[in-house]
């Protein structure tokens, strides 16, 4: 019997697993996909919002502000790259200017450090912004990180401290017993005292397994993005927001922690949780809105497009509560923006909900996982040479766009969490995320994966189940003439 089963390994599920790993609890994380964090967390703007934007008094406002503060420590503790680069929210007309002053008040009420700044100041800091800008709201605590870097660090650490993580385990049914649940997946059946529903887009679907009254309706909003190559360091230095509207934060310009720039997202209601397409209309929309704010956008540097889906419920706020008619089923639903920024605070809240019901002792042997992830391209030369002497595979570059070595890829495959897919490797170590988008390195990574996992090359997946890259071997028995 598990004490707690977390459904979903996105940023909230991972933070919750990380927090609960401290206690003497038997914790299980179930993930339906092959790799962790492959849903909402994979595709968003990757911003740790400062927290001036959500309506004062909402859970979003409270947890955003708290979460932003918590990131500083947790990223340091787990050795995850995080930068507080600050943000400018810009007003280009009178109406927006009025709205921006309102936001400034929100900021004060939410307890967030913000400054109203004049045109000259904005243009001095961000010279590409259109000089029709009238007013800006500067929020110095806005941060950026790679969401999946965070997830890998959280889950590696959770695993190291005894949490079990089972991927490719889709929850099919949850049976409510007197004091526990029986969770049936496509792989096995697990008994658990608590269920934490962190299933992201599928939160309503999971809730309906235990009750007919989920208390909310899940809606889906798609956001489409462009990714610009690295090397446009002079284009923007801060997160750039337009003045938000009822529809959301609008089309942003966001430097990433790896030196790329994201342009997007759109905001479009869609029917399916898996409608992750990009559209001509959506991408044009992004360009038009970017062009309204800024000059000199290096569109020739586009290396990728993607879309992500936000789990936006009809309650318009985060839903974090124990189900009324189902004790010990904890709902963590509707974690749309600012979900990433709020995740550490959401986890803290869930942790406290359990602490209020159970008297828990911390583990005596709890230790932070000593992350050994080597990043060759960030090391000084003599350190690189020392590492190559220890392990010559750190000397072979596999991904030339991002300068990633074979040694780093092998490390990822054999990390506590383990990586099995081409896209998993890409998210964890970055090969394939550069200019050529895997055009050169994909066959090499596929070969390393097959070799290290001791499987056939045709078994290697791009991402989800069924996304095998190679369909058939052509040279079976070839060359020996004895067929």
């Amino acid at each position: 019997m598990y004490d707690v089963t977390i459904i979903g390994s996105g940023i909230t599920g991972s933070f919750i697993a990380h927090n609960l790993a401290k206690y003497q609890l038997k914790v299980l994380v179930l993930e339906k996909d092959v790799e962790v964090g492959d849903g909402v967390t994979k595709a968003n703007s990757a911003i740790i919002h400062s927290g001036y934007d959500p309506k004062p008094g909402t859970l979003k406002a409270k947890l955003n502000v708290l979460g932003n503060k918590m990131y500083e420590q947790v990223t340091k503790e787990l050795n995850v790259d995080y930068k507080r680069i600050g943000s400018y929210t810009l007003a280009f007309n009178e109406l927006e200017e009025k709205e921006l002053r309102k936001l400034y008040q929100h900021g004060i009420e939410n307890g967030v450090e913000t400054y109203l700044v004049e045109k000259e100041e904005i243009l001095k800091k961000e010279p590409n912004i259109k000089d029709t800008v009238r007013l800006g709201l500067y929020a110095p605590t806005t941060g950026i990180l790679a969401p999946w870097d965070m997830i890998y660090a959280l889950l590696d650490n959770a695993l190291y401290n005894g949490v079990e993580i089972k991927t490719s385990n889709e929850v099919l049914n949850i049976d409510k017993k007197e004091d526990h649940f029986v969770v049936k997946t496509n792989q096995s059946t697990y008994k658990t005292r608590y269920v934490i529903n962190a299933a992201g887009l599928y939160a309503e679907h999971i809730t309906r397994m235990v009750t007919d009254n989920p208390g909310f309706k899940m809606n889906f909003t798609r956001g489409e993005y462009y990714v610009l190559d690295r090397g446009y360091d002079d284009y923007v230095h801060h997160v750039i927001y337009p003045t938000p509207t009822a529809k959301g934060k609008g089309v942003l310009i966001v430097p990433t922690i790896h030196g790329n720039v994201l342009l997007g997202p759109t905001s479009e209601r869609i029917e399916d949780a898996d409608s992750t397409e990009v559209t001509k209309v959506g991408l044009e929309f992004v360009k038009n809105h970017v062009n309204q704010m800024i000059n000199n956008t290096p569109y020739k540097g586009i290396i990728r497009t993607f879309s992500g889906i936000r789990p936006k419920t009809d309650r318009l706020d985060f839903i974090i509560e124990e189900l009324n008619d189902t004790p010990q089923f904890i709902q963590v639903a509707g974690i749309e923006s600012p979900g990433l920024a709020s995740a550490p605070a959401i986890a803290k809240m869930v942790e406290e909900m359990i602490l209020n019901k159970e008297s828990l002792e911390t583990k005596h042997d709890y230790k932070i996982y000593p992350q050994k992830q080597v990043k060759i391209n960030e090391k000084p030369i003599d350190e690189i040479n020392r590492l190559i002497k220890q392990n010559p595979k750190y000397g072979t570059i596999i991904c030339r766009c991002e300068s990633i070595t074979e040694g780093e890829i092998i490390d990822a495959i054999h990390s506590p969490l383990g990586i099995r897919t081409i896209d998993g490797i890409k998210r964890r170590v970055r090969p394939g995320s550069g200019r050529c988008q895997g055009g050169f390195c994909q066959p090499l990574i596929l070969e390393i994966l097959a070799r290290e996992l001791k499987v056939s090359k045709t078994d290697i997946l791009l991402d989800k189940e069924g996304s095998n890259i190679l369909t058939e071997e052509t040279k079976i028995n070839g060359g020996d003439g004895n067929e």
Binding site: R304, F306, I388, G439, T474
Partner: protein, 418 residues
């Protein structure tokens, strides 16, 4: 600083090998060739079809055979070759940062550097094909590598977007390996591949070519299931009611090659926005003295023979630079004019030797007049039939034809002839 070289050539494909040969045969004593793969040859290694070498070796060779010829010649020289070695960075003062598993991270010095690192393929994301990101859409060159080097098919029912040579050759290749190839769509009203490839790869196998068509939709669940193409008008706008749908599990993209120039742009080498390669003079020298560019990383060629020829010259000039034999005559800019997309070189030094202008026309022309001008005066006129954007034109001239003491720019233009 452990080692000093006269010339360091980066890239061991046709361009790099030819360049190293050019350097060593023109007096460079210490030449280093750096290749990141496990063997020399570059993309030639995955081009197992024949048709290479008609100009240079006067016979039809396969890609690997062509590479083997250059390699054999190279191994007879004292060029030092480092395999499985990646160049991470070059500097303006001509150091080369390289890394491999044996030597670790090394910085070497060279008197001149030739960058010959080829190009990469334009991807789905760069041309914005809408739809989900399921598996089953990949570049033609990547599929070619999987098939010809690793021995695997990437799908059974195939459609191809773009009629570049790689796409055309992969249409035939996948058909020969048992896949069904349902068609090739090309945005332009003419093919971007060599005429002989249209005939030998499509016509001979009854694979339809849809000119003025583009992919307007892809659908499927985890894997591609359907591709929809539609006709476009002269402004590339989709014509309503012209869509056709094909049930395929694979869409291969042959939608353009982009010269790799990150090593050069990192040190502020000026790049031509049309070719995406460096601006070079007639020595193949970039705006940074002693740094040269050639092959497909300079501009995309249609024949490897032209790559080899051009790169041999660049190696020769890099050797001359290393041996301080460069001359310091005035440089005159060379620019494309009517109906010409780009010209290489981008400037020439007036001397008494010859220069070859290489260029591409902007549209197919049945008959044309190639005109080389300096300022307003016509230097040379050449009549030509069948000018195609897919086929690089070249004009060889003696530099003594140009006005020696003039700063007047040189133009290359093509006039249509009725």
């Amino acid at each position: 600083m452990n080692k000093q070289y006269d010339v360091c050539v980066i890239g061991g494909g046709a361009a790099g090998m030819s360049s190293a040969l050019g350097a060593v045969k023109n007096g460079a004593k210490k030449v280093l060739l750096v290749e990141r793969d496990i063997e020399l040859g570059g993309i030639l290694q995955q081009c197992i079809h024949n048709g290479f070498g008609l100009h240079h070796f006067h016979e039809e060779l396969t890609g690997p055979a062509y590479a083997e010829r250059l390699k054999t010649e190279l191994l007879e020289t004292n060029v030092e070759i480092k395999l499985e070695t990646t160049v991470l960075e070059i500097t303006k003062d001509k150091t080369v940062h390289l890394m491999n598993k044996v030597d670790g991270y090394q910085i070497i010095e060279a008197k001149s550097i030739v960058v010959a690192i080829g190009c990469r393929e334009r991807t789905r994301h760069q041309i914005g094909i809408p739809g989900k990101r399921f598996n089953g859409i990949m570049t033609a060159g990547l599929a070619q590598r999987y098939l010809n080097i690793d021995g695997y098919l990437v799908g059974k029912n195939v459609f191809i977007l773009g009629s570049g040579d790689i796409g055309l050759i992969m249409a035939r290749r996948m058909r020969l390996e048992g896949a069904n190839v349902l068609g090739v769509a090309e945005l332009m009203p003419y093919s971007n591949g060599l005429n002989r490839n249209i005939v030998q790869c499509l016509h001979d196998y009854n694979i339809p070519l849809y000119l003025s068509h583009t992919v307007t939709g892809v659908s499927g669940k985890d894997r591609l299931e359907k591709v929809t193409i539609s006709e476009v008008d002269e402004n590339f706008q989709v014509k309503e009611g012209t869509s056709k749908t094909f049930e395929v599990d694979t869409l291969l993209l042959s939608v353009g090659l982009i010269p790799e120039n990150k090593l050069l742009t990192d040190i502020q080498v000026e790049v031509n926005p049309i070719t995406n390669g460096a601006y070079v003079d007639d020595q193949f020298q970039t705006n940074i003295p002693g740094i040269f560019a050639c092959g497909n990383s300079l501009h995309v060629h249609d024949l490897v023979d032209f790559v080899a020829e051009e790169s041999f010259e660049s190696g020769k000039n890099a050797a001359k630079y290393a041996l301080n034999q460069e001359n310091n005559h005035i440089s005159i800019p060379v620019k494309p004019a009517s109906n010409v997309r780009y010209v290489i070189p981008n400037k020439i030094k007036i001397s008494d030797d010859e220069v070859t202008f290489k260029f591409r026309v902007t549209k197919p022309m049945n008959k044309g007049l190639i005109i080389v001008k300096q300022g307003d005066s016509v230097i040379k006129e050449i009549k030509k039939s069948h000018l195609l954007p897919a086929e690089m034109e070249s004009v060889k001239l003696n530099k003594s034809l140009f006005k020696p003491n003039s700063q007047d720019e040189i133009f290359v233009e093509v006039k249509g002839v009725e």
